[in-house]
């Protein structure tokens, strides 16, 4: 018979308290979302009481389902469009920035690196208001809408690929590239044929991270949207959540969730493939998520 004191002092006891906290955290963080997804399949208008399973809020309902309501599927398309365009611009820009900063010593690159890190932690609303002022009070060729949204999102996301690639550059070191140049490769060829393939895991992880983060964005895209045709899903949820919406809103959010999960699963599988047999890369989910 052991008392509580002996239990506390036993160094080999299982960490019950930590397991409890972790399990409670998981339940608290995931069950509400799960319930919201379940109610998107509700066969009634209520988001609080279950009236049977149906897919009417996805495509069954002739006017209010995501498939038939133009306002809802435009939002979904806008979100995916912003995700793709922003990723295509941000990742090359950030990767080039990281490689450039890494091999350029001096005050200017150090300052640029600091600027990049500051953009990473700046409250998003500050950047959003600043860019809104720029677009509305200066006569620029870019007006509110998709163009301005992409501009803001790229600025906010550029730190992701930059930080991930810099961390990876620090891990792989300079020896491979120096060997390539000793064997006669030009700096550009060494970069293209040695460094870039080694950077692939980091580049890949940042593609998925940036995409997942952009489709989740709210503050920037709301201020920089021109009208309801450029409002993505997050803004649509914000506008209607408190105004007696139908489960179609849940369905819209659930579709976005499925899209994000699909992108991440595919991305993770591909990441595992790229890093197969590579002992310098963290092949676990943490390495993929960039530990950011």
């Amino acid at each position: 018979m052991r008392g509580p004191v002996a239990w506390w002092n036993d160094p080999w006891r299982p960490p019950r308290i930590l397991v409890g906290v972790t399990a409670a955290y998981l339940a608290w963080s995931l069950i509400p979302v799960l319930i919201a997804v379940i109610f998107s399949f509700n066969n009634g208008r209520s988001r609080t009481s279950w009236q049977g399973f149906s897919t009417r809020w996805y495509w069954g309902d002739a006017t209010k389902s995501v498939w038939h309501d133009a306002a809802l599927h435009t939002a979904l398309l806008q979100t995916l469009k912003l995700g793709v365009i922003t990723t295509l611009v941000t990742v090359p820009l950030g990767v080039m920035f990281a490689i450039g900063i890494d091999r350029w010593r001096g005050r200017l690159p150090a300052g640029a690196n600091m600027l990049m890190l500051v953009s990473f932690v700046l409250p998003e609303v500050l950047l959003a208001v600043a860019l809104l002022f720029v677009v509305t009070s200066l006569s620029l060729p870019i007006g509110l809408g998709t163009g301005a949204q992409v501009l803001g999102l790229v600025t906010f996301q550029i730190a992701y690929p930059a930080v991930l690639v810099r961390a990876r550059l620090a891990t792989i070191g300079t020896q491979y590239e120096e060997a390539a140049m000793d064997l006669g490769a030009s700096p550009l060829a060494a970069l293209r044929r040695v460094t870039l393939p080694l950077l692939l895991p980091a580049i890949f992880a940042s593609i998925v991270l940036v995409f997942a983060d952009v489709i989740d964005d709210f503050v920037l895209v709301r201020y920089l949207s021109s009208n309801s045709s450029t409002e993505p899903v997050s803004v649509k949820i914000y506008n209607t959540a408190r105004a007696a919406p139908t489960p179609a809103l849940n369905a819209l959010a659930a579709l976005l969730l499925f899209a994000a999960l699909l992108a991440i699963t595919l991305g993770y599988l591909a990441y595992r493939r790229i890093t197969r047999g590579d002992h310098t890369a963290d092949r676990g989910i943490a390495g993929f998520a960039g530990e950011a």
Binding site: P109, L122, A130, L151
Partner: protein, 311 residues
């Protein structure tokens, strides 16, 4: 093999010169982007805050020359923080209290979770980590929508509290309850804290902790005197990474309370940014938040670039 490939290599000097140009050439587009769309917009905010307001259209007119700057709009905001006309004071104070409470709550939840997962090994670890990061990849608005559904007057929370009709519980959760907003902030941001904490705790040398126990420190002492000091930079960076974005948050309060009773500074910015004639006021509030955030931000940047913490 062609002749050009066995030709003598170029002199190392010229190669090094080309290599040293490669860095700036690659970095320049990114630097130009950050200067144009990050630093310059902040200057535009300054020009608008210290600029004029068009007397007829009530639109903001930026003044570019710092020598002609007019501080009246900034003074207007500063003068209304404390005192008899202090309309902004309560929201600023509320922001500080909410962010501190939510940050503390996040740390209380995130630290044990990150500690447990970092100590774990084996097959379960990857799956557990994936589940922990999942909220990070679920849209913030979707997670808030989930709670809006649960916290309705006839929602599941009230029904759960009434124990199946045993008690009559009609708590109006969504009408200006500070506790709901603080919990909502913690719910929304805690995932951003778990990952950096996990990264730091995962790197903690196990042998040092074992040495502490071998040398006679008990569980509490080894945690308090070895683990905690060693991961303090990580904790600070993780708290900053979570709390700084919270400073500008307005949508959590809007979604979960929609009442001026729980308005934060983000709500003040959001309310004034699009009302005519108040653009300068919004800009002044933005500058105010930036001033408060600038010291912690540079501290975070220093901690990160020293390499103590990967983020």
């Amino acid at each position: 093999m062609t002749l050009t490939e066995v030709a003598p290599q170029p002199a190392p000097q010229s190669k090094r010169a080309r290599a040293s140009l490669l860095g700036p050439a690659l970095a320049l587009p990114g630097i130009a982007w950050l200067l144009l769309f990050f630093l310059a917009p902040l200057y535009v905010v300054l020009a608008i805050v210290f600029g004029r307001t068009d007397p007829i259209f009530r639109t903001a007119v930026p003044v570019w020359n710092p020598l002609q700057w007019n501080p009246s709009q900034f003074n207007y905001v500063l003068g209304r923080i404390v005192g008899a006309q202090g309309i902004f004071g309560p929201a600023l104070l509320r922001t500080a209290v909410y962010v501190l409470l939510a940050g503390l709550l996040c740390l209380l939840i995130a630290f044990p979770v990150a500690y447990y997962v970092a100590r774990l090994s084996g097959r379960g670890k990857g799956l557990l980590l994936a589940l922990l990061i999942a909220p990070f990849w679920i849209s913030y608005m979707m997670r808030m929508l989930a709670w809006v559904n649960l916290l309705q007057d006839d929602g599941l929370v009230n029904r759960l509290l009434s124990l199946g009709g045993l008690f009559d519980v009609r708590v109006h959760w969504l009408t200006g309850q500070p506790a709901v907003v603080v919990l909502g902030l913690a719910y929304g941001y805690v995932a951003y804290m778990i990952l950096p904490l996990y990264a730091g705790l995962d790197r903690l040398p196990q042998s040092t902790l074992e040495a502490a126990r071998d040398l006679g420190a008990n569980r509490v002492a080894s945690f308090w005197r070895v683990t905690l000091p060693m991961c303090l930079p990580t904790i600070v960076a993780a708290v900053l990474l979570t709390c700084l974005p919270m400073l500008g948050d307005y949508f959590t309060s809007d979604m979960l309370s929609a009442s001026p009773k729980t308005a934060m500074v983000g709500n003040l910015i959001n309310d004034s940014v699009q009302s005519p004639g108040q653009t300068g006021q919004a800009g002044a509030l933005v500058m105010l938040v930036l001033l408060v955030a600038v010291l912690p931000m540079f501290y975070y940047v220093r901690v990160t670039s020293r390499g103590d913490v990967s983020s």
